[in-house]
Every structure is written in C-alpha cells, then in structure tokens.
Subunit: 587 residues, 2 copies
C-alpha cells in the first residue's frame, strides 16, 4: 500500500503521528521559506508543509516540492502537526503534515480545466475529459450518492425477501419495436438481438416461474431522439410481485422510498405519502406529476365568467386560475414577464388575465372592462384569495389550458422560492387511465402497456366508455418529477384477449408480438403486479440536480455520443463482412 492514511481522515488527535498519504496536488503556494501543498484524494484534502531547512544535500525536499505541478500524483510521509492558522471549512483543517519524504508517483500535464467545484471548464470540455471532471468533488459526490442509494435499495428489498435476478441484455427484437437498439449476430447471420427497453416480459415470466418477489437494478436501452434529459442507456429499479393487489405494491415501494430517504438523506417520512387520482392531478395541478411542495391549486371559474360579453372566456371550454400569495404588489413589468412567459412557444398560451386583490380589499385587474368589482369578489371568494394576493387566470381548451397554467404555477413556485431542493414532497398518482386516444390514427392505445389490468370496477365500461376506464396503475411522483410507476398486470387469458382486441391487435399480431409471454401464461400465471423506478432520476432528485447526466459516470450527449472516447464510430469492413452487412450510402 502506498499510504497508511487517506487525505480526509487526519484530525487534531493525530498530531505527532508519522503518516504516509498519497494523492493529487490540488495546489501549492510558496511563502518565504515554506511551501504549502494541498494533496487531494477521494476522501479530502490535507495540507503538507515543506521547509527550506529540510533541503539537505541528500534530500532536496524543498526543491522537489517547488517543482510539483497541478495534478501530479505524490506520496508524502511526515509528521502530523497542529496548524497555527486553522481552516474551519474542511474537516482536516486543524492539522498539516510536516513533510519528511516526497515521491512523485506520476507527473501530469496541465489539466484543461481546474479541478474544483466551480471549474472554468465548459460542458463540452468537461465531457471530453470526463475522467478529470470526475475528480471534482461535486461530481464525485453524485457517484458516491448513487452507490449508497443502490446499496440501500438492495438492503431494503433483500430484507423483504426479494431476489435480484439478472435478465438478458441480448433479447428478442419485437417487430414493432422500431426504436430498439439491435445487435447483429455473427453466429446467426441475418439475425439480430435487441437490447431491452425494459425487463418487462422477463419479469412477468419470472412471476410465472414462481419467483414471487423479483427486483433488478437493470440497464435499459432506447434508441430515441434524445431530449435534454434522456440517455440511450439508463438504469431502472425494476420490481415485480405475485399474489398482490395494488395496495400491496404501493405499500412495499412506499417503504422503499422512505427507507432511502431515511438512510441516505436522514429524512424520516412517518406519514403515508398522499395519494391523488389522475383526474384530480389534472384538475388541480394540470399535470400527472404535480409538484406538491407548494399549494396554488387550480380553481375553475368557467361558470362565473361566462355571459359577460368577454369572448375570450365565453368561447373557452375552461377558465381556470391560481392565487399567487402576496403578489398583488407585482409591478406592471413583473406581470408583463408572466404574460411573456405563458406566451413562449414552450408554453403556448395566447394570454394571461390577472386580478390584484389590493391590501384594502379593492380589485385591480386586466379584465375590469368586463367584470365588476362585485363579480371579481366572487372570483376571489371562490379562490380564497386574500388582500395582497394576485389572481392569475387562463382560458381555452381544457387540456391545453391546464398544461399552460401548470407551467405558470411552477414558474410562480420558482419565483416565490417555494421549490426548495432540500424539501421533498412525494405522492402517489393513482387511477391512471387505461387507454389513451390517438387523434391521428383515431384509435385507443394502451397508456402503459397492453398487460395493464383495468380497475375491476370499470371492467363493464371497457366497450361502452373506453376512454374513462381506469387502470390498476400508479405513479410515484416527487417534486413534480415522475420517479416511476407500475401496475397490476392481467393474468387471465380471456381478459387479455379482450384487451388485445380493444387495442386493435389481431390474434395473429398479438401472437407474433407477445407470443412467448402468452404461451407462458397458459401454464398457471399467478396474479401479479409491480413497478419500475428510474434510478438515474431517483439519484438526481436526491442530489438536487436538474439532469440525470451528472449522476452517470460516463454519460452520452444529446446525439447519443460519448465525446470522451468518440463512440459510436465506424467499424472495419472485415467486421461488417463477418456480420454479412453492407452500409447503404446516404441518399
């Protein structure tokens, strides 16, 4: 071992002891007859002191120290000593090592950016030199958090009798899965494996096999055009249970999320997580993943506003508003900013109505031409707006308006500091719709996947009121982000056949696409259900980050490229020949 102590563990109580540490030169400062070198490793930073007086004929220690460059790898032995000027900001700040021996284990070229939390390196540069970016404590901590979370997830699930079972990465490509990554097989020319988008089929097979509590922290793959926060490979906490109902799954995984908060963040959720139906989430927050760290619930005003000759609301399906507490003092400019915000193409609203409830109880509004003070008072009463509050109202097509108002609500939450990254507000969204209507193809699609069980109470509505059938499906949401979701699956052949029919599958097509699972289901499939949590997302929420990229050691960029090792890349003709493939020139 090149060291007997790390750079993070020495304290005042170690003063006087002889130690050897190893690490990277963070910085060095020459001050008169002394040189101070900060040595960094994964565990911290320790100050090492070299004195001119140590320069002897045999041991040019001081000179050597002055030749150290940033990021040199060094091994230093010496005596731990109390510092005269202590640094209260770091745990090792009360001591320093008076160097007696210095060995340069490796030199370093000057790194392309500074290895500090606030680095001078831009995004592209940091990604190209990701191995240096990972030296920065801020990034390192994300991977430490990720390790700890994975470990605690396994500890919890193991304690509940779950088995982690690895499912294959080389799987069957499904004919409709045009967005699968495929892998040509050399041994079976002309044939391809696919990389799994999720272990869904395998975990259901495992239930058929009798493994009644399965989980896996599993790599999944999607060859999608990448949005800001997608990766072609990502990690899922994938779980399935047999002989369970929705309540059992929710209870088990609420327990998991609480366990993680408790053992990783020291946050103890003692009450059950709130639950909200999907309909209520849309009605009161305009979103299937509401951020409930703050209020500002939607209040519908449609009935109050119609018939006063204001065409914007008269013609609208929905008029709905929120109350921004204490914002009656907003200036014209501030309100204009909000109007601009909702008119941005990303939000897409036509405009914004506002009503200030002045401290004296009077009203000032953008709609005074159409509504009397008395009328505005009925708004304020329904919305529980108090003097000093600002009412923000939008009108239009119901679904679109809700989504737009949702964006505005989140923006107001940001402006009012109500979205603190250290506050966590988890909830379950339940009773998700089973089907989703597609305007383009004029038919229903499965909202989740075709194995999702309908809510038993709604089974008689399958054909009569298809769009309103609720699934036995649930999402878990934290701070406005979907952490994951799942469902109870269909295990009865007859119901499954009906679902396929409703979804427009011919029996042949269903067999072609899901045949091996349907065959398996003939041999005694137990009732089962489960869920999957996005692990990258889970880590990023706990790390207080907006993107998953920084919780992944070696992420790809938005074009699916690893700019560090320049992949993907062309391959040899010989390799293509062996796979019996030809590249088709671009047209």
């Amino acid at each position: 071992m090149y060291r007997d102590k790390t750079c993070g563990e020495l304290r005042l109580s170690d003063a006087g002891s002889k130690v050897t540490v190893a690490g990277w030169v963070q910085r060095s400062r020459k001050m008169g007859g002394m040189t101070f070198v900060d040595v960094r490793d994964r565990y911290g930073i320790t100050q090492v002191v070299f004195n001119t007086s140590d320069n002897t004929e045999e041991n040019a220690l001081f000179d050597a120290a002055n030749n150290l460059g940033r990021e040199y790898v060094v091994q230093v032995s010496g005596t731990v000593t109390e510092r005269t000027s202590k640094n209260k900001n770091i745990p090792t700040g009360e001591i320093e090592i008076i160097a007696e021996k210095l060995k340069v284990l490796n030199k370093s070229e000057i790194p392309p950016f500074t290895i500090e939390d606030n680095t001078d390196g831009g995004d592209d540069l940091r990604m190209k030199f990701r191995y240096l970016d990972l030296r920065r404590p801020a990034v390192r901590k994300n991977l430490e958090l990720r390790h700890k979370m994975a470990f605690e997830i396994r500890r919890y699930l193991d304690s509940k009798g779950f088995l982690e079972i690895e499912t294959p990465i080389l799987v069957k490509s499904t004919p409709e899965g045009a967005r699968d990554f495929v892998v040509p097989s050399r041994m079976n020319p002309g044939e391809f494996y696919a990389l799994p988008q999720s272990p869904q089929l395998f975990k259901q097979l495992l239930m058929v096999s009798g493994f009644d509590r399965y989980f896996q922290i599993a790599k999944c793959f999607r060859d999608e055009d990448l949005r800001a926060d997608r990766q072609p490979e990502f990690t899922q906490i994938d779980c399935e249970m047999s002989f369970v109902e929705q309540e059992d799954v929710i209870e088990m995984f609420e327990g998991l999320v609480k366990h993680i908060f408790k053992y990783v963040k020291e946050i103890d959720f003692t009450d059950p997580f709130p639950r909200m139906t999907w309909n209520d989430a849309m009605k009161f927050y305009g979103s299937d993943k509401p951020d409930i760290r703050f209020g500002m619930k939607f209040v519908e005003l449609t009935d109050l506003v119609k018939g006063k000759g204001f065409s914007v609301v008269d013609d609208a399906e929905l008029t709905v508003g929120i109350v921004a507490p204490g914002c009656a003092s907003y200036t014209r400019k501030q309100i204009d900013e909000l109007t601009e915000f909702v008119k941005r193409p990303q939000v897409g609203a036509k405009g914004l109505m506002w009503v200030k409830v002045e401290p004296d109880g009077s009203f000032k509004s953008s709609v005074g031409k159409f509504f009397s003070a008395d009328e505005l008072k009925t708004w304020a009463e329904r919305m529980d707006a108090k003097p000093g509050d600002l009412i923000l109202v939008m009108s239009g097509d119901a679904m679109k308006t809700r989504k737009q108002l949702c964006e505005l609500r989140l923006e107001m939450g940001n402006r009012l500091g109500l979205r603190d990254k250290n506050v966590f507000a988890p909830l379950w969204v339940i009773d998700l719709p089973l089907f989703e209507w597609d305007e383009e193809t004029q038919r229903y699609y499965a909202m989740h996947h075709p194995f999702t069980s309908p809510n038993p109470e709604d089974i008689d509505k399958l054909r009569t009121d298809t769009g309103n059938v609720r699934a036995t499906a649930y999402d878990i949401v934290v701070n406005g982000t979907e952490l994951g979701g799942g469902s109870i699956r269909i295990h009865e052949a007859a119901l499954q056949d009906e679902m396929f029919e409703l979804l427009g599958f011919t029996p042949e097509k269903a067999q072609e696409q899901f045949g091996f699972l349907m065959n398996a289901f003939k041999y005694g499939a137990p009732p089962h259900g489960g869920l999957a949590l996005g692990f990258d997302r889970f880590v990023s929420i706990l790390a207080g980050l907006d993107t998953i990229r920084d919780v992944i050691a070696f992420p790809k960029n938005n074009s699916g490229r690893d700019v560090m090792n320049e992949s993907p890349s062309p391959i040899d003709q010989a390799q293509l020949d062996e796979l019996q493939l030809t590249l088709k020139p671009m047209e």
Copy 2:
C-alpha cells in the same frame, strides 16, 4: 394480498390457526373420502386436505378440489392441523391445512415436463420452457444462491469503502476487436457502438479519476464461438484499486472470497489461501489452474529413464508420472480404460506407462522389458509410491505431456472420489508470465493485456529474456477452475511505451487502439491494480454445478440462441433502412 402465509412456513406450532396460502398444485391424490393437494410456492410445499363432508349445496369444495390439474394456481383458506402421518422430509411435514375455501386463480395446461428436481424433461425442452424449468426447486435454489452471493459481495466491498460505479454498455468498438458485438447507431448512421468485453478501460479511467476503490457486478459480452460452458453475455465481479501493490489486492479479494464462503456456505477459511507460482503449477499439476483438493503431484523421471534403450522415453523431452494411491489392484481392464482415456482426441496422448507396486513390494509394469525391478524401485522411491500404489507415467513434449497427465490426474481424482463438490480448495497462482509466444505469427503477445505491469525484479529481462519475464499478475483458482484473476497495471508512460513496442505496436497503432486511455494517463495516473472474478462461475462452483448455464435465469444455448423466445431473429426491412444497413446474401 392473496395469502397471509407462504407454503414453506407453517409448523406444528401453527396448529389451530386459520390461514390463507396461494401457489401451484404440485400433485393431488384422492383417497376415499379425502383429497390431498400439495400446494407449492417459492418457499415450500404444504399439504391441503379436502373432505367429502365439506361438499355442501353452496360450496362444492370437494368436487372443486378433484377438478384441480397440475400447476393450477390456487388460493386456499383453512385451519392448520397436525398430520396423523407426518412427512419428516419436508419442514412443513408435520401439518396440513384442512381446507375451508378454494379459489382457482388460474388454470394451467398440462406442463410439457414434470416440475420436480428429477424431471422427465430433456435439456432442449426445459430450455424452450425455461419459465417452467425455473419452477423446479433445484433450479430455483441456484438463483437464490446467486442473489445471496451478489448481496454478500456488495456488503463486503461496501464495508471496505468500494464504490459500485456503472460503466457504459454502449462503448467504443476497438478496430482489432473483431469479436465485439456491435450496435448500429440510428442517430449516427454508418457508425457503431460495441458491447464491452469487460469494463477494463473504464475502470482504469476511474482510477485516473481518483475513485480509488471501484467495483461493479457487470455484464460483459463476447461474440465468440461458444464452447460448452461459455455464454455470449456473462457477469463479472470487476474491481480496481489505487495506491496498491499485488499484496494489497490479493489480501482484499482473498477476504472477499472468504466472506462469501463464510456467509453463504458457512465455511470458515481461517488460514491464508495457499499460493503457487505459475511455474510450479505447470510443473506439479500440468495446469495453470490446479485442483488441489487432492495430491498426486507430478514427479519428473526424465533423468532416471533415459538410456535404457526405450525409445519412447529416450526421445522424449519429459517423462513424468503420478502415484495413484491404492490402485495397484487395478485390473487389466481398468488400466486399459485409463490408456483409452489418455488416447482420446480430447487428451491426445500416444500411450500410458504403468507400474504397480504390489503389496509385497514387487513391481509389475508395462515397461518391464526395459527397466529392472531395481530401476523401478528408484522410480517408486522418488515418487514416494507405497506398496499397493499404481504409478502412471507419460512421456513426450514437455508442455503437451504435462497437460495430458493433468487430464489423467483429474480422471484418477474422479475415480478415487477425491473431488468432492462439498470440499473447496482455493489457491492463488502468482508470477504468471507476462508474454505468450505465438508460433504462428512468431511474436509475443500479452498474456493478459498490454497494461499488465512486469514484475519489478524482471524489468531488466524485458528485452534479453522476454519469454521468462513474470507479470505482476495473479489468478485465483478453486477446485481446478479459474475463478478470476488480475494484475497490477502499468501507470508510467515510459514503461507503457516499451511494452507496446515489445508487443509490436507502432506508436500510431497504440494510439489508435488505446488512445483515450493513454491520453488520460497523461494527467496523473496513480499506481493501480485490480482483478475480475467470473460471477457465473463463482456461483456454479458454490452450487456444485459443472456448467454456468444453470445459474443464469435465461441462458443462451451453444449457438448463442435463446430457444425460449427464438432470438436472435430477423428484423424488419424498415428497421434496417433506418439504420442504413443492407443484408449481404450468403455466398
């Protein structure tokens, strides 16, 4: 929840309690007015009893029980009762449930083979219906063992400060890696990712990043022609440490292996594992992975046997033998069997010499024509053969003969029952050669990989005695199987350049193939080393299995096919078009 008890937990102390269990019908027997149904789940089997007298007008319980088929999924409620005729072979054998309610949760077609440890299903059938094969307790136990081992591996490494860090599955294809699986990129047409053969480069990058203790239970991929016991995807326990020497790595991972034996098999290895140099392993066992559960070490006789006019040994580079204790009583037929064994093409020897040391001390041998009793006595003395023992001797080219005698030694171990699957004999093989000479291309190759550090004592021999340079590399072997291995890596640029030169890489080629790692090494690479253990292999050793296939939930066959879901398979033309690929017809 469909149950409040599992089928494995009820004991005599539960007698009298009302319970509900759920599971699969293992078998049912009608005996007079009673029907006994064995219900199975992951945890065990519980006997349920139905009485004729329970058949009431409202509740045709007995009839329902008699209509149950094998593998039906049922939910049964009833009262736990002491059995009159107890089954001592199963933990639940003292009780049965007197059924009060029965619900068929799902029916089952008759399974294609019996769901029992000794099934009537052949290999192919079991693989096609793997989801049913996995119901058999013998197979289920392997996956339970695998889960437990993975969990304990993580527990040990976490306790030692290791971080599990996920490295990418979509990586860069290296130009010479003709055996990489490749993945065409839709977003970057004409370019390919590769699936990693191991996380080697990434774990070395992580060391450059300062993560001084890394591990990962990682999926790895090799598009190789599959031998009996290879899989195109397999799982590795991949580890790397910084600021360490060989001794540190060996100590850490010997600790890991001991931890697993202790917490999974309740076997406590208190002494250090033996260590053997690679040269000794070859000399005394003819193998770089000796099975040391038993002796029968090789004894060289070359000097004793030459010059007696027996051309077989006179012309041979090596004559070497083993002593099979107590086998002087072998019949002509038995000895013929051994001769046939070594002559099989898989072993490839020309013949076998034998000497029986008779109980009275006289000798009977196949070489009496050439050697006197006195001469045979010198053999017996050197080999420490006692009266009653059988000496088996082979001659020829040194390396080949050692490998052949190794096969014979293992065969004798089997015949003598010395290779007990419940006995575990781990050892380290150290001082592996750094280079391997290739006759065909007449040059040296890296035995491990080009980043393996030479033994510091042998650095001066790099150019003068290349073939005898030892690597700072080590393998861990259990019961004649290589569990894993690793090395200290080169971290100095100058030594790395020299290695590349010795291995015939031009600087350009080295840059092309390993450029991004070499670039990373310019920025302060710490001394580092590590190892990887084959996880599938590790599980199969502890499970006492000869192949890794049965410790993998959904394995591929020897053609790399998953016969359950028929993959790989052809893909749509549309998908090929999107990837800008064309299939080249077979010539």
